[in-house]
């Protein structure tokens, strides 16, 4: 498996004490697979993605990228991973081209010029190479973050709300880009509230609620489950049913 999450838990310290954002979560994503991670606000999706990316340390459990433990062997694990967060965090003093060059240096990208040019075209960033993040719209900044994630040949891609801020053309292009990366063999974990996107792009869905995994399978598998049989066939209907918000 390209991505393996095994009995992962994450606890935060808060004003009222501690609370568990993710509790005993296990799943895996195979090469070429696109898995959708969905759930209501506070379900633990972003905590899960950030922990896989090495931003947050797991309180318990193990996260492996191509067999490399994110905590015990972080450099090899991170080398194989690309994380595209929902909020575009960029260095406000580096241009678009410099961001791509920086990432290429850090990840050791060989054919930087060709890959960068292709990506800038693919993400409609051509002509913006010398722009600073402050001169770009939010959607453009989101595209820069995605370009930085795709400029290297990562085996595992994590997308957190990848369509936020994109226009309809950008949304269509992004869907195609995600599908193309999976066809090239990348394992993709995608978190989104846009259930129609998940339904359209993903081959499998994990539904989380209050830090726990409450459903995991293909649409057919979920729809065929005895407890969900009456919910309906769309992902939206299944989502509302399993999270207890269904009619």
């Amino acid at each position: 498996m390209a991505l393996a999450v095994d009995h992962f838990s994450r606890t935060y310290r808060a004003a009222s004490g501690t609370f568990t954002a993710v509790d005993d979560l296990s799943f895996a994503v195979a090469p070429g697979e696109i898995v959708g991670l969905i759930g209501p606000n506070g379900a633990g999706k972003t905590t899960t993605l950030r922990s896989i990316a090495g931003i947050l340390r797991p309180t318990a459990g193990v996260v492996r990228i191509d067999g490399h433990d994110v905590v015990a062997d972080p450099i090899e694990a991170k080398r194989r991973l690309a994380f595209m967060p929902d909020e575009p965090h960029l260095f406000e003093y580096l241009t678009v081209a410099e961001h791509l060059r920086l990432v290429s240096r850090l990840y050791g990208v060989d054919d930087f010029d060709r890959r960068a040019a292709t990506l800038l075209d693919e993400l409609e960033l051509a002509g913006k190479e010398r722009s600073l993040p402050g001169e770009l719209s939010r959607g453009m900044r989101q595209k820069v973050v995605i370009a930085c994630g795709l400029v290297r040949q990562a085996t595992t891609l994590l997308f957190d709300e990848p369509l936020t801020g994109l226009d309809p053309i950008g949304i269509r292009r992004m869907r195609n880009t995600i599908a193309a990366r999976a066809q090239q063999g990348a394992a993709i974990l995608l978190s989104s509230h846009l259930l129609h996107l998940v339904e359209e792009v993903c081959s499998r869905v994990i539904i989380m609620d209050r830090g726990r995994k409450i459903a995991d399978g293909t649409f057919e598998e979920l729809a065929a489950r005895a407890d969900l049989a009456t919910a309906g066939s769309s992902l939206e209907q299944i989502f509302f049913r399993v999270t207890g918000h269904g009619a």
């Binding site: 004003a15 990316a53 931003i55 080398r79 240096r105």
Partner: protein, 576 residues
């Protein structure tokens, strides 16, 4: 509105205290708090006892004629300094921070049915906690004799800082309407400027008369003439508001102190009334500040321009170089022309003032040499706290940095490289200038051999001292991230003075501790070689000292690696 402001101030203070106390549940913050408390006790409070003992030993008879002359001239001297700063505030783009409304204030208070004047009063009230803290720290840090006099000094300093804060805000407001089409606004803006210009001219003329006829013969003579020139006639009246602010700091007895406080309070009240009277300007300036803030937010608060830096990152190499390139790009793109002009104006003004008050045209070299010496000391010992293009700044980007496949120790080292190189180069330049002019500056009495060897030794230990301080600041950022203000959250203005003083003192204390092994080894080398090579033994001694401190810095970066790995993004406090 005042009740609402007090409510905000009280709730904010209460919640911050609660949050900080809650954070002490974490062992590292508890240990840090104990260390900070011990540092404050031994640095300040323990000194109260020793200085009191010293006072009993020495007695009032120890006061020399020079000290008496200095005490007599002190309010006038400080008043002169305040007058100079007050006049320069109109030329230089000082910002008091009083109009820097927070995002939450813009969102909640600007749409609220309150006047802009009420908003300014709200900002004045909010600034009081910082100003009180700054006054308290300055009072404690003063080389005074007793706890009582430190308390008195603290109160006097609080009044002085408050008046300064309000005055600078008034200047910021007035500057926006100097060219206003409205005659009333224009008059309100030009009137104080004219008054300050007139006061500065009167005082300068009086001082010139005191010094032009006959050159000063001694320090005491200079002090006596300044006291005489500013204690009579028009100069006394012109300097009165500024000397009044300094009066309680130097008051000898309780009666004089109370009278000084009353005068100081009158000046503060006058400044407040002046600022509140410029209501038209206030409306405009508050709106401009809010618009600027909104525009900054829209542009992600980016003060950078996409200019060419001439720096291209190689696609292969050590990871530390990536951080150095990143910080260099940030520095080159973030240089504010206004800041450069501000610094240049200060240098020119100080040089001109010192030259005219000193030894005439022949004193230029001496002034340049002395100034370069002071700049060297500043760049080595204080600038590492000011230049924050390292982990203190990059904590904002932790979410990105943590995903990079780079060894943690390399990240820490990389963060130190650029500010260390910049400060070392700047300190070496200033030191070279100081050495060139040493023959006519304060170092003139030091023999040439000592000056040369000493200069070389300072140059050699400079990078070690600079990198050691940067390592201390970055260690604090990694170990106590919640105590490190990020980017624009950094407290600014007079009300942040107390925090800066504490941080500077703590850094110096740790620097001294970390330099002890190097200093001891250097001393051994010095004693072993000085018989053979004389003053030149300072050079190998400095090399040994610098090498040991440098090794300590390298070890520190490796030791801080696990701290970076453990650093959780949730540990980085987000401000309002």
């Amino acid at each position: 509105m005042i009740a609402a402001s007090l409510y905000i101030v009280v709730c904010t203070a209460r919640n911050r205290v609660r949050m900080r106390l809650r954070r002490l549940r974490e062992p590292r913050y508890l240990a840090g708090a104990f260390a900070a408390a011990a540092y404050l006790y031994f640095s300040f409070f323990a000194r109260l006892r020793s200085s009191a003992r010293g006072r009993r030993r020495s007695g009032p008879a120890a006061a020399t004629a020079l000290v008496s002359a200095m005490r007599a001239a002190a309010p006038a001297l400080v008043g002169l300094g305040l007058l100079a700063v007050a006049a320069l505030a109109w030329i230089l783009p000082f910002e008091s921070g009083l109009l820097a409304f927070s995002e939450a204030e813009i969102q909640f208070l600007f749409p609220a049915p309150v006047t802009r004047r009420a908003l300014l009063i709200h900002r004045m009230i909010r600034s009081q906690i910082g100003l009180l803290f700054g006054g308290a720290i300055l009072g404690i840090a003063m080389p005074s004799a007793s706890g009582y006099s430190r308390l008195r000094t603290g109160v006097a300093m609080w009044l002085l800082l408050s008046a300064g804060k309000v005055y600078f805000s008034g200047v910021s407001l007035a500057r926006t309407t100097l060219g206003s089409r409205d005659a009333r606004s224009r008059r309100a803006a030009w009137l104080p400027l004219g008054a300050i210009a007139a006061a500065a001219t009167i005082v300068a003329a009086s001082l010139a008369r005191a010094f032009v006829l006959a050159p000063a013969t001694s320090t005491r003579d200079i002090l006596d003439r300044i006291a005489a020139a500013t204690s009579a006639g028009a100069a006394r009246i012109a300097l009165w508001p500024f000397a009044a602010l300094a009066q309680p700091i130097f008051a000898a007895g309780a009666r004089e102190y109370v009278a000084g406080l009353a005068a100081s309070s009158v000046v503060l009240a006058a400044a407040i009334v002046w600022v509140l009277q410029t209501d038209a300007a206030l409306e405009e300036a508050a709106a401009v500040a809010a618009e600027r803030r909104a525009a900054d937010l829209a542009a992600q608060a980016s003060p950078y321009r996409a200019s060419r830096t001439g720096l291209t990152l190689a696609l292969f190499g050590r990871p530390e170089a990536v951080f150095a390139w990143k910080a260099a790009t940030q520095t080159l793109r973030g240089v504010d022309r206004r800041n450069v002009l501000r610094m240049a104006a200060i240098v020119v003004a100080l040089t001109a003032m010192t030259t005219t008050a000193g030894r005439g045209a022949s004193g230029v070299r001496a002034v340049a040499g002395t100034f370069a010496l002071a700049a060297t000391a500043f760049l080595i010992l204080m600038a590492p706290q000011v230049l924050r293009v390292d982990m203190r700044e990059d904590l904002r980007h932790l979410e990105v940095l943590k995903t990079w496949p780079v060894r943690a120790a390399a990240v820490v080292r990389g963060e130190l490289v650029w500010p260390g190189v910049v400060l070392t180069a700047a300190a070496w330049t200033a030191l070279a200038v100081a050495e060139i002019f040493a023959g006519t500056s304060a170092l003139a009495r030091v023999p040439l051999a000592w000056r040369a060897a000493g200069g070389a030794a300072i140059a050699l230990v400079t990078p070690a001292l600079v990198f050691a301080q940067l390592a201390i600041h970055n260690a604090a950022a990694l170990l106590f991230p919640a105590w490190v203000p990020l980017g624009q959250q950094r407290p600014r203005g007079l009300d942040a003075m107390g925090q800066r003083l504490i941080m500077l003192g703590a850094t110096w204390l740790l620097l001294i501790v970390s330099a002890i092994p190097g200093a001891l080894a250097g001393a051994i080398v010095w004693f072993a070689l000085r018989i053979f090579v004389g003053e030149a033994a300072l050079v190998p001694a400095a090399i040994v000292c610098a090498a040991i401190v440098g090794m300590e810095v390298l070890v520190a970066t490796e030791a801080l690696g696990p701290a970076y790995e453990r650093l959780d993004i949730t540990a980085v406090e987000r401000a309002e």
